[in-house]
C-alpha cells in the first residue's frame, strides 16, 4: 500500500502518469536558492539549455558564468569561486561532469573540501538516441568513492528541486544527477524530503522483499510492487533511497531485517553504485540475499529511451522477476 504520510502524486498508477523533467526541477530550484542568497552562482559548460541552468541565467545574468566546452575548467573555476566565498553550482552532462573532470573534482573540490555543488545531467541509458558516449552509468561510483563528497539522486521533478535546496545548505561538496527525459511525478511539494533520510513509499505489514531504489526508476519499483501484490500476492516495501552518501543505514538495516531479502534498483552500473552501497551496509549488519537491478558491465547504445531501459533490464518486468528470484533465495 502507498503510504499516506508520503503525500505522493495521485497519478502514480495512472495508465499515463503525469510526467515532468527532473532537470527542470534543478533549474527551478537553482533560481529559488539564487533568490535566497546572492552568493549563489551558476557555472556552466556550454549546456545552459540542456541542464536548465538558463532559468538562472535569465534571472541573474551577472551571476551566470560560462566556461565553454571545458569541463576540467568547470571544476577548477568552481573550486576557486567556492574558495573565495561563492556557492557555485557547476553543471554539465554527467558523462563529462564528473565523467571527464573526475580528477579535478577529487583534488580541487573533494580533497580541498570546498562547497561546490555538482550537477550531472543526462544520466543513464534513458538519454536515448545520443548513445553510449553520453549515457553516464558510472558517476555514482566515481562520486561516492570520494571522501567529503555527498551524493543525491532525486526521483522526480519535485525531489530535484528540493535537492538543490538541500545541496545548497550542506557545507561541503555535493554531487547530484538528473535524467534527460520527462519522467513520472512520484512525489509532491508536500512529500517529505530530508537529506540522508530514505523514504518508505510502499508499505506492507509483513513484507517478503524490500525494493530499494533511487532516481526515476523508483516509479517502476512502485508499479512492480503493485503488480506483485495483485497478481502474485507478494508483499513488498518500496524505499526511495535518494541520498546515496551518507546513506540512511538504519533504513537499509531495518528493511533487511523486516523483509529478509532485498532488490536494489538504479539506472547505473551495478558495480559500485547505490546497490553496492546497500550491500556494504547489509553485509556488515544483517547479511541478506540481494538482487541488483541496473546495468551489468555493459555500455549503452542508441535507441528510444524507454526501450533501452527495458533492454538493459531495468523495466517493471525485470524488477518483478528479481523480486521472485530473491524471495526464493531466502
Amino acid at each position: 500500500m502507498i503510504k499516506e504520510n508520503q503525500h505522493l502524486h495521485s497519478d502514480i498508477f495512472a495508465d499515463e502518469p503525469s510526467v515532468e523533467y527532473t532537470r527542470n526541477g534543478y533549474g527551478r530550484g537553482l533560481v529559488e536558492v539564487g533568490r535566497e542568497n546572492e552568493d549563489v552562482v551558476a557555472v556552466c559548460a556550454d549546456l545552459a539549455g540542456s541542464t536548465r541552468t538558463h532559468f538562472f541565467k535569465q534571472e541573474f545574468p551577472d551571476r551566470y558564468i560560462e566556461v565553454g566546452v571545458a569541463e576540467q575548467n568547470l571544476a577548477t573555476v568552481g573550486s576557486g569561486l567556492a574558495k573565495y566565498g561563492k556557492i557555485p553550482f557547476i553543471s554539465s552532462y554527467a558523462a563529462f561532469n564528473p565523467g571527464r573532470n573526475n580528477e579535478q573534482i577529487r583534488t580541487t573540490i573533494a580533497l580541498n573540501d570546498v562547497p561546490v555543488k555538482i550537477l550531472g545531467a543526462h544520466a543513464g541509458v534513458s538519454v536515448g538516441p545520443d548513445g553510449a558516449t553520453h549515457q553516464q552509468l558510472e558517476d555514482i561510483a566515481l562520486m561516492r568513492a570520494q571522501p567529503n563528497m555527498k551524493v543525491i539522486v532525486p526521483a522526480d521533478f519535485q525531489e530535484a528541486k528540493k535537492t538543490v535546496h538541500v545541496a545548497y545548505k550542506q557545507d561541503g561538496p555535493v554531487y547530484f544527477r538528473v535524467a534527460r527525459e520527462k519522467t513520472p511525478e512520484i512525489t509532491t511539494e508536500d512529500s517529505p524530503f530530508e537529506f540522508g533520510v530514505a523514504n518508505t513509499l510502499w508499505e506492507s505489514d509483513s513484507p517478503d522483499v524490500a525494493i530499494i531504489g533511487c532516481g526515476w526508476l523508483v516509479h517502476k519499483a512502485l508499479v512492480a510492487a503493485k503488480q506483485l501484490k495483485k497478481h502474485e500476492d507478494i508483499d513488498t516495501l518500496v524505499i526511495n533511497n535518494h541520498t546515496i552518501k551518507p546513506m540512511d543505514e538504519q533504513a537499509v538495516i531495518q528493511a533487511g531485517k523486516r523483509a529478509g531479502a532485498v532488490v536494489t534498483v538504479e539506472e547505473h552500473q551495478v558495480s559500485a553504485g547505490m546497490g553496492s552501497a546497500v550491500a556494504e551496509i547489509l553485509a556488515q549488519n544483517v547479511p541478506t540475499p540481494q538482487e541488483f537491478i541496473g546495468v551489468h558491465d555493459q555500455f549503452g547504445e542508441s535507441g528510444p529511451p524507454m526501450e533501452l531501459v527495458e533492454k538493459y533490464g531495468m523495466g517493471v518486468d525485470a524488477i518483478i522477476e528479481a523480486v521472485k528470484r530473491v524471495k526464493n533465495r531466502k
Binding site: 551577472d62 577548477t76 573555476v77 576557486g80 573565495y84 561563492k86 580528477e103 580541487t108
Partner: protein, 288 residues
C-alpha cells in the same frame, strides 16, 4: 612603489636562508623535489617579503592577496619562505616535511594549512582555481590581487589552456600568472618532451599581457609584479626564466634532480656549504 637596493640585498639574503632551509627539510624528509624549489626561491621570497599584501599573524585576513601554487610539488619553497616570514617555526618545517601526522604534506593541502589557499599537486589545475577566485573578487569589486605560480612543464596540460582562455575572455585584470620557466620536467628538457614555445605568443593570443623577466633578479621580478597590478584590462603572465637548482652547481640545469632530495649527511653538508659561499654570485647577477 620601487624597491630600494638595500631591500633587494635583504631579500637576496633571505632567499639564501630559504635555500638552506629547503636543503635541510628535504634531506630530513628523504624524499621530495629539490630543483624547482631552489629555482623559485628568489621569486617566492619576493612574493612574501615584498609583493604580497598579507599578515602572517592573521593568515586568513580577508583582504590578503591570494597566491595559488599550481605546481604543488614545489611546495617546500613555499613552506620555507612562509616559515621565514613567520607563519610557522623554521625548525618545525625543517624537521617535519612529509612526516606522518605533520601538516606539511608532500603536496600542499588547504585543509591542513588554510594559508596555502588551495590543494594542489596534479598539474594544470591551479590557474582555473586562481581564475575562479579572481572572477568572484571582480564580481564583488574586491581590491586584492590573485597570483598563480605555475611550472613550465604543466603548460602541457589542457586544463591550463582552458583556464587561460577563460581568464583572457573575462579580462581578469586582478589575476597574474607566473611561469617558472626552468626548461626541465621529469622526462627531460621541456622542448624535447613536448615543445612549449612560442609561449609568449601563445599567452598573448589568449588575451594576456606578457612580461619576460630573469626569475633570479628580484628587482626585475618585483617591477614585473608592479606592472602586472597596474594593468587593469587584462590578466598578466610573468614568464620568469630561472635556473633549476639555482645555487648548487651539481643540481643546476639537471632534469635528474627534478624529484630527488639531497642525501642526508655529506651531500647535505656540501650543498649547504656551497649555498653559504654563494652570496657574492647572487648579488653579482642582481647588479648586472
Amino acid at each position: 612603489m620601487n624597491i630600494t637596493d638595500d631591500k633587494v640585498q635583504e631579500l637576496e639574503e633571505i632567499a639564501m636562508d630559504v635555500r638552506e632551509t629547503i636543503v635541510r627539510m628535504l634531506a630530513e624528509a628523504g624524499s621530495g623535489h629539490l630543483a624547482g624549489p631552489l629555482g623559485m626561491a628568489d621569486m617566492m621570497t619576493a612574493f612574501y617579503f615584498h609583493v604580497l599584501e598579507h599578515k602572517p599573524d592573521e593568515p586568513m585576513w580577508d583582504d590578503r592577496d591570494r597566491l595559488i601554487l599550481s605546481n604543488g610539488h614545489t611546495v617546500p619553497v613555499r613552506y620555507a619562505v612562509m616559515a621565514h616570514a613567520g607563519y610557522f617555526p623554521i625548525e618545525d618545517i625543517e624537521n617535519n616535511l612529509r612526516k606522518l601526522g605533520s601538516p606539511y604534506q608532500g603536496h600542499p593541502e588547504r585543509t591542513e594549512i588554510p594559508a596555502l589557499e588551495t590543494t594542489s599537486g596534479p598539474l594544470g589545475s591551479g590557474l582555473g582555481q586562481a581564475a575562479g577566485i579572481a572572477y568572484g573578487a571582480q564580481m564583488d569589486d574586491r581590491d586584492f590581487h590573485v597570483y598563480c605560480q605555475m611550472s613550465d612543464g604543466e603548460q602541457d596540460a589542457g586544463n591550463i589552456w582552458e583556464s587561460a582562455m577563460f581568464a583572457g575572455a573575462n579580462q581578469l585584470g586582478n589575476l597574474t600568472g607566473v611561469i617558472d620557466r626552468n626548461n626541465i620536467q621529469i622526462n627531460g628538457h621541456t622542448e624535447d618532451v613536448m615543445p612549449l614555445e612560442e609561449l609568449v605568443d601563445k599567452y598573448e593570443a589568449f588575451g594576456w599581457h606578457v612580461i619576460e623577466v630573469d626569475g633570479h633578479n628580484i628587482e626585475h621580478f618585483v617591477d614585473a609584479c608592479e606592472q602586472a597590478k597596474a594593468i587593469y584590462e587584462d590578466p598578466t603572465l610573468i614568464l620568469a626564466h630561472t635556473i633549476p637548482g639555482k645555487g648548487i652547481d651539481e643540481i643546476e640545469f639537471d632534469p635528474g634532480w627534478h624529484g630527488k632530495p639531497p642525501e642526508k649527511g655529506a651531500q647535505e653538508k656540501a650543498f649547504l656549504q656551497e649555498l653559504r659561499t654563494l652570496e657574492g654570485k647572487i648579488e653579482a647577477s642582481h647588479l648586472d
